[in-house]
């Protein structure tokens, strides 16, 4: 497509579901598609940037003990020191090294973010998948319930759960999961419902394949691509929600996390800018990484509808 065209093809505006797909089960996970997948990924600017940043973050998280100058909760020096040679990002109000907290924070952020996104996919996938496949009353009830969860704002819902159940590290994961699963449910539902009536699924059904097999062999592999895109975007959302809870002072007080650092920074905005700037940058970087990765994956799976966030990638 030309870069200078004055207009957008209507096809580009069509939702993913309308994108023409062959009538035989294309199943991305089948066969040797890895090579092709990688080739397309390489061609996507957003995707590659996202991937590289993400791998970098994961490396930092895994190698934290090796690269971090101090232990996360170690009192490394005087409190509220501005960035210097010995403390590259300064120290916080109790004298912890900000750089070390930021490095260790990547562990918590990624772990909890990915865990919540994964759990949300599990719950949402189950609800959405069953609703889309079963149809009828089950469909109506499940999707209505999903809608109900979305009426309460995501952040408020997460807070409500924390208020009722407490804020232990992994209750926080549950809170975030409860807040974001409806997003996955809706996308899985849409995919499964659209695929259910496709020819290759009907062929399998007429041939007498059991439901479980149809779901596992025909529907899931084809429903996966848009779901993967959504999960990538929602992993960023999970990290954001997680950090937000931390910022409100509701995180685990003993875990060295970005949110907790930002919470502490709130009281020192007039004196210690470094307490806010560095962990905030880390959060933004993580979210951007996931969102660019999502864009890249979208370009791979829906080449008809390439609209990257980095400019018009047409």
């Amino acid at each position: 497509m030309s870069l200078s065209g004055d207009s957008v093809d209507t096809a580009e505006l069509a939702p993913d579901l309308d994108a023409p797909r062959p009538n035989t089960s294309p199943g991305w996970s089948r066969g040797n598609a890895t090579h092709e997948w990688w080739a397309r990924m390489r061609a996507s600017r957003s995707g590659m940037i996202g991937l590289v940043v993400l791998i970098l973050l994961i490396a930092i998280a895994m190698l934290a003990p090796l690269i971090s100058p101090y232990a996360p909760n170690e009192l490394a020096g005087e409190s509220l020191q501005a960035p210097s040679r010995s403390h590259l990002m300064g120290t916080d109000n109790v004298g912890r090294d900000v750089l070390s907290v930021v490095i260790y924070g990547a562990r918590i952020a990624l772990l909890m973010g990915l865990l919540s996104a994964g759990l949300a996919l599990l719950v949402g996938g189950l609800v959405g998948g069953v609703a889309g496949y079963a149809g009828g009353a089950i469909e109506t009830i499940l999707m209505r319930v999903t809608e109900l969860f979305q009426i309460i704002p995501l952040m408020v819902l997460a807070l409500f759960v924390v208020a009722l159940w407490g804020s232990h590290l992994w209750l926080l994961v549950v809170a975030v999961t409860i807040a974001i699963w409806p997003l996955e449910a809706r996308i899985v539902y849409g995919q499964v419902k659209a695929l259910k009536d496709r020819e290759f699924v009907q062929v399998a059904r007429v041939a007498g394949a059991p439901h479980a097999q149809i779901l596992a062999r025909e529907i899931l592999p084809n429903a996966l691509p848009p779901v993967i895109v959504q999960v990538s975007l929602d992993a960023g959302l999970a990290i954001l929600t997680q950090t937000s809870l931390g910022f409100l002072g509701l995180g685990d007080p003993n875990a060295a996390s970005w949110g907790q650092l930002l919470y502490a920074a709130q009281s020192y905005l007039s004196t210690a800018w470094w307490m806010s700037v560095f962990p905030g940058l880390a959060v933004a970087l993580a979210i951007i990484a996931f969102s660019l990765l999502g864009d890249g994956l979208n370009e791979i799976y829906n080449p008809h509808q390439r609209r990257g966030t980095l400019g018009r990638s047409r």
């Binding site: 497509m1 030309s2 065209g5 004055d6 207009s7 957008v8 093809d9």
Partner: protein, 346 residues
């Protein structure tokens, strides 16, 4: 001195030609870019319309009729155009060389208008029809004369012109009525040429007749030239003086309606006529058309109809030019050369 006078002569001559023509298209080329391929939707078209004349443009679906008519009106919205060249001379001005501003100015008065193929999509669903028609009137009109004129246009196209009807929304109209609204809109600027792109395809048969009668009446009463685009030859026979047959982006035959319909030269035209309902027996020489218009991005060299032509022979690998025939029409087929006539290889 001598060369100057020759140049002047040439100039005068072309002026004389122009004056008798309302619309004079010369070698119009419109190519699109679609998925990195060049779609040759209009490829070197010549077409003329005299003032007050009614001209038909026929061809199968996908032959480029809509693109041609839109390009005439410079309404090729939202297309990735790869190449656009040639001349579209209307009222002695080449429209392709006009600035956008100048076009906008001209469109408001005695210019050319279009009626589109799909009446629903071309009306704004959130605006009352009366207002949509009023928008097409010259801006200097007073409010009162504006309302009066809209009602007048409505009655002209056979719609109720009362206040309540003007306040309706497009979705509250039937398909035929919507098409009439579009026609009313097109007539608002008192155009000298109305291009009607398949004005009746979306309508059922009885309504088709009504809309056509309306068009014909307006054509006669207002001395407005018509360019009717259709794939219905019967419609052309009824409504038009002359006809152009279009195939795969090119004009393949043109001439007076009676001549072309009674003695078609190009095999494509013959096929079109044979495909008309009720024509099969009369034209027992030719069968109806099989297949469809080739992909305009992957055209073969030579005659574009070759692959579907029952008479194709070696020479067809070379593109035939439009040439005059014995009956006074023109045809883009080697078999139509006066000396070749009768030596049908099949």
């Amino acid at each position: 001195m001598r060369s100057a006078s020759i140049a002047e002569c040439g100039h005068e001559e072309s002026n004389a030609v122009k004056e008798t023509q309302l619309l004079d298209i010369h070698d119009l080329v419109v190519h699109f870019l679609r998925e990195e391929q060049v779609v040759k939707a209009v490829d070197g078209v010549d077409l003329r319309v005299k003032p007050g004349e009614s001209v038909g443009l026929v061809g199968e679906s996908g032959s480029g009729k809509t693109v041609l008519s839109r390009s005439i009106a410079r309404l090729m919205a939202n297309a990735v155009i790869d190449k656009m060249s040639g001349q579209v001379v209307f009222q002695n001005t080449d429209l392709l060389s006009l600035s956008e501003r100048e076009l906008e100015r001209r469109r408001r008065k005695s210019f050319l208008s279009m009626v589109f193929q799909d009446p629903l999509g071309y009306l704004n669903p959130t605006k009352r029809v009366g207002r949509q028609v009023a928008e097409a009137l010259p801006p200097e009109l007073s409010r009162r004369s504006r309302r009066h004129r809209v009602a007048e246009l409505f009655t002209q196209v056979g719609l109720p012109g009362d206040k309540a009807s003007l306040r309706l929304y497009p979705h509250e109209f039937s398909g035929g009525m919507r098409q009439r609204v579009l026609i009313a809109m097109a007539l608002a600027s008192r155009p000298r040429l109305l291009i009607a792109d398949e004005p009746t395809t979306a309508l059922d048969v009885t309504v088709q007749v009504q809309v056509l009668n309306t068009l014909e009446r307006l054509h006669r009463e207002q001395d407005m030239a018509l360019l009717v685009i259709t794939h219905d030859l019967a419609l052309v026979a009824e409504l038009c003086d002359r006809v152009y047959v279009m195939y795969a982006g090119q004009i393949v035959e043109s001439g007076d309606v009676e001549t072309v319909l009674s003695s078609p030269h190009h095999p494509y035209t013959q096929g079109l006529i044979a495909s008309m309902p009720g024509q099969r027996r009369r034209m027992n020489k030719v069968d109806g058309l099989v297949g469809s218009v080739p992909n305009l991005a992957l055209l073969p060299s030579g005659c574009r109809f070759r692959s579907r032509c029952p008479h194709a022979f070696d020479r067809c690998e070379e593109m035939p030019p439009l040439m005059p025939t014995s009956t006074g029409s023109t045809s883009r087929c080697w078999l139509s050369e006066p000396e070749a006539e009768g030596e049908d290889p099949s």
